[in-house]
């Protein structure tokens, strides 16, 4: 392949979105649109002629390299794309706080974790691991969260009582009199 086609391949591969011609121009500022289009064409032809497992397509969003459609099923079957994912540390921490302190509101979770948790809460709600179990006292009557049966199922627990006891996490931040009295 020609140097420009190689650079175009690297750019299309590494980009986190389809690239328009303008964006390719930024990668190779001296090349000019004509030669860039020729390079794109060369790459497309190459994938075609050498019978690659991927192809170069042009959609409204720009140019992109995609796997050929005939492999979609094998990839999905093997969960190459749709593999089970571990929860992020942020999600896991939030889930741990909710599991041990439910029902618990957002403010309290944020206090313990020290960061905003909106995004994580939404994710956990969408994945059915937590649900809204009520509303708290106080201004705005905050939503309170708890874990779902799906959460227990995922952990292979039959009830929340089976969660290992964690005195610290269920007690800390409870009424201060207790702690201060130590």
């Amino acid at each position: 392949m020609q140097p420009l086609a190689r650079l175009v391949e690297a750019a299309l591969f590494a980009a986190d979105r389809p690239l328009k011609l303008d964006e390719l121009e930024q990668v190779a500022p001296d090349a000019g649109r004509e030669s860039l289009l020729a390079a794109v064409q060369e790459l497309r032809d190459h994938y075609q002629a050498d019978e690659h497992g991927v192809e170069l397509v042009e959609l409204a969003e720009g140019f992109q390299i995609l796997t050929r459609p005939e492999y979609a099923e094998a990839l999905a079957q093997a969960r190459i794309v749709n593999r089970p994912r571990k929860l992020s540390v942020a999600a896991l921490e939030t889930l741990a706080v909710i599991a041990y302190r439910q029902p618990v509101g957002r403010a309290e979770i944020e206090e313990i974790r020290g960061v905003a948790v909106d995004g994580v809460l939404r994710l956990l709600l969408e994945r059915g691991l937590i649900e809204v179990v009520g509303r708290g006292e106080g201004i705005g009557r905050p939503l309170l969260y708890g874990t779902t049966p799906a959460f227990l199922e995922l952990l292979g627990l039959s009830s929340l009582d089976e969660l290992p006891k964690m005195e610290e996490l269920s007690v800390v931040l409870r009424p201060l009199a207790e702690e201060a009295g130590e």
Partner: protein, 244 residues
């Protein structure tokens, strides 16, 4: 004291104001600068230079550095004690320090190697954009009880539980208070601020509302006024307010 001042005035060594990754790093730098044999450290001189350096770098508040300084001074004193007549019995007070320094040097070498590898790796990029295959449900989630409990314990450990004087009140909820104020303003043009509360509001509720009101006043959404000194604070929808 004189020693310290002396070191400050004639600086035989050059300490860069770069950040050190710890007291061992600083110590090793001092030793290297002066090409000192690590197994025969002139401990009195190095201890003074270490103290001068952490003072100069503003590290004299950092516990790790202070601990090392104390450790060095302890060795310095031990070196001054008379040795037993039988030299065989004598254990060099510096031996442990030497072991730690060598061990650290080793780790440092590996760390540099890791850094170079990471640098090389950072020149190559994996695929940035992986389109979802059509019509796939979201990927299943893997979760183990061990992970959850380990995470919970890690969190619990990091909580300030042993600090008994730290009072952790109910968190303020200015967002909720703002919402409530706007709700009332949507139906009333003006109201007593006491209307914001239940019969027995908590301190944090009152503070939340106060902060929310001040913020809304700053944004010119509301006007606050009193009809008489010490009178009840009234909240009024500002003329240009978008609310309502």
């Amino acid at each position: 004291m004189t020693g310290l001042l002396q070191i400050n005035s004639d600086r035989a060594f050059v300490v860069e104001l770069d950040e050190f990754s710890g007291p061992l790093d600083l110590l090793l730098t001092l030793i290297r600068e002066q090409q000192i044999d690590i197994t025969d450290i002139p401990i009195a001189r190095i201890a003074d230079q270490f103290l001068a350096a952490i003072h100069e770098l503003g590290l004299n508040q950092a516990a790790d550095y202070l601990e090392m300084a104390a450790y060095l001074l302890r060795i310095k004193i031990q070196m001054l004690l008379p040795r037993p007549i039988d030299e065989e019995e004598w254990v060099d007070p510096r031996a442990e320090l030497v072991r730690r320094l060598l061990e650290y040097e080793q780790i440092r070498e590996v760390a540099d190697w890791l850094g170079r590898r990471a640098e090389l790796r950072s020149e190559r990029f994996a695929r940035g954009w992986v389109p979802e295959l059509p019509e796939l449900p979201p990927p299943p989630i893997m979760l183990s009880l061990d992970d959850l409990v380990a995470t919970a314990e890690r969190l619990a450990e990091s909580l300030p539980q042993r600090v008994t004087h730290r009072v952790v009140p109910r968190p303020l909820d200015t967002e909720g208070a703002t919402r409530r104020i706007r709700e009332i303003l949507a139906v009333k043009e003006e109201f007593d601020w006491a209307e914001l509360f239940d019969e027995r509001p908590s301190v944090s509720d009152v503070i939340s509302c106060l902060i929310a009101l001040l913020e809304l006043a700053r944004l010119e959404e509301v006007e606050l006024f009193q009809s008489e000194p010490y009178g009840m604070v009234r909240v009024r929808r500002a003329a240009a307010s978008p609310v309502g």
